[in-house]
C-alpha cells in the first residue's frame, strides 16, 4: 500500500497518485501526518481505499466518486462536500457543512457534526453517531440523514424531499420542516442505512422529519416564513 507522509511529501504528490488510478484498479493509500491540511483526498474518481491517519482541515474528500476514505481523526469544514458516490468515514468530529450539496454516496461521522450538516444535500446519505448543529439539512433536496444524538436549531429549514431521522431531541424545526409518521417503508430505509453505516441502533427509536411542502412556490400567506 503506497504511504504518503505529508510531513515530508507535498500533498500534490499524493493527489497525483490518487488521480492516476484507473477504473478497474483497486488501489489503497495511507496518508500520514495530515496535521489539519486542506483538501486532503479530494476528487478521487476510482474505487480506491484511503486511510488518513490524523485530523484534516477544510474540504477533505470533496467531490468524491467511488472511493472509500476514512479519516482517523476529526475533519474541518466541508468534509465530503459535493460527494457523488463512495463512502467517507470520519472517526472523530466534523466541522460545519459536512456533506454539503452531496449527490450520492455515504458519509458516516462517528462523533458530532457542527452546524449546517448536509446543507443543500442532493442525494447523499449521512449518518452521524453524535449530534448535529444548527441549520442542518437547510434546503436539503434529496437523500437521507440519520442522527443518533440531538439536532440543533432550525433543522431542515426550507427542506425539499430529503428524509431526516433523529433519535434524540430536536431543538427546533426550520421553516416548512415537520415531524412525519414513521411508516414501515421508513423503518426499512433507516434500518438499511444504519446497517450499511455499521451503526447499531433500533430504527424504531428514531423520529422522522420532512417537508410540509408549502414553500415550493411562493405563497403570500407564507411570507412570514421566508
Amino acid at each position: 500500500m503506497p504511504v504518503f507522509d505529508l510531513a515530508t511529501t507535498p500533498l500534490r504528490e499524493f493527489h497525483r497518485a490518487l488521480h492516476s488510478v484507473r477504473e478497474g484498479e483497486n488501489e489503497a493509500f495511507e496518508v500520514l501526518n495530515p496535521r489539519g491540511a486542506h483538501s486532503v483526498a479530494v476528487g478521487a474518481m476510482a474505487p480506491v481505499h484511503v486511510e488518513v491517519r490524523g485530523s484534516v482541515g477544510y474540504y477533505c474528500a470533496g467531490m468524491n466518486e467511488a472511493a472509500e476514505i476514512t479519516v482517523h481523526g476529526s475533519a474541518g469544514p466541508g468534509v465530503a462536500e459535493n460527494m457523488m458516490s463512495g463512502r467517507v468515514t470520519v472517526k472523530g468530529n466534523a466541522s460545519q457543512y459536512a456533506g454539503a450539496t452531496g449527490r450520492g454516496g455515504l458519509l458516516v461521522i462517528e462523533g458530532d457534526a457542527a452546524s449546517r450538516c448536509g446543507i443543500s444535500m442532493k442525494g447523499i446519505e449521512i449518518v452521524v453517531k453524535g449530534s448535529i448543529g444548527h441549520m442542518s439539512a437547510f434546503m436539503a433536496q434529496k437523500g437521507a440523514m440519520a442522527v443518533l444524538g440531538d439536532a440543533g436549531e432550525a433543522l431542515g429549514d426550507s427542506l425539499y424531499e430529503a428524509r431526516l431521522y433523529v433519535r434524540g431531541s430536536v431543538k427546533s424545526l426550520g421553516a416548512d420542516c415537520i415531524e412525519k409518521e414513521m411508516r414501515a417503508e421508513h423503518v426499512a430505509q433507516l434500518s438499511d442505512l444504519l446497517a450499511r453505516a455499521g451503526v447499531e441502533a433500533d430504527p424504531a427509536s428514531f423520529r422522522r422529519y420532512g417537508s410540509a411542502r408549502k414553500l415550493y412556490h411562493f405563497n403570500v400567506d407564507h411570507a412570514g416564513d421566508y
Partner: protein
Amino acid sequence: MCGIVGLFLKDKTLEPELGGLLSDMLVTMTDRGPDSAGIAIYGGTEPGRVRLTVQSADPGGEFPKLAELAAAHGAAMARKDTHAVLTLPAEALPGLRAAVEAVPGLRIMSTGEAMEVYKETGLPADVVTRFGVRGMAGTHGVGHTRMATESAVTTLGAHPFSTGADQCLVHNGSLSNHNNLRRELVREGIRFETENDSEVAAAYLTARLAEGRNLGEALEGALGDLDGFYTFVVGTRDGFGVLRDPVACKPAVMAETDRYVAFGSEYRALVGLPGMDLARVWEPEPATVYFWER
C-alpha cells in the same frame, strides 16, 4: 477571512516558550490574511509598575523625543523596531501618557501591568521577527493576521485592539451595528482611534468591564448588543475568553490540556503545540461564552 490564535498557559514551565508557541501558531495562519499582523502578549507583572507600548511610523525621527519624555517621567524604555515599551511607576502613567499623546507621530498601542501589543502591516512571519516575539515569555497571548474588509490597511487598523488597560481583542468577521454602538460608547466617554468595527467590539467589552462585570459577563452582554459575524478571542490581565456569534460561520477550534488552553481559526494552528496528541479538541459552540481566569 482573517486568522486568529490564542494561548493561555496553565503550566508555568511553558511560560518562557509562550512567544515561540504563539508565533508558530500565527505564522501557520498566514494564508488566512496577508494585510497586517499583530500580537498581544502578557508578561510578568512588577508590583506598582505599568507598561506603555508606543508605536511610530518614523522611530528614527521620533523615538529620541520619546526617550526624553521617558526619562523625564522615570520610565525605562526598550525599543523594538517601530514599537517601544516604557516601564514606569503606575502613578507616573497619566503624566507620561498625556506627554506622549501630545506628540503627533507617536501612537499608544496599549497600557497595562502585563500586556504589550505589537502590530504592523505585513505578514505574520515578518511581524514576529521584527519585534522578536519568539523570545518573549508570558502567561497568555493572542495573535491575528488580517484580511481587511471593514477599514484601511494601516498599523492602527491591525489587530489586536486594546481599548483598556491589559485588555485586548482579536476578531474574525464583520460587525453590522458598529457605527451606532460607537456613537453610544463615545457618549459613555470611550475614545476611538479608528473607524474599525473590531475596535468597537473591544471598546464595548472595556465599557462593560469598567462597570465591574467579569469577562464572562461582558462577553454574555456582547451576544445581545453586537450584531454581525464574529469569532472573538479576548485577553485581560488574568483572563482569556472566546465568543462566536449565533450563526458561527467564522471557524474556530479549541484544545485544552492540563498545561494550556489554545484557540485557532483552524486545527492547523494548534498541531505544533506540546502534547496536542492527547489534548481535548473541540469546536466552540455558537453563542456560548468560554472564558478562563487565573
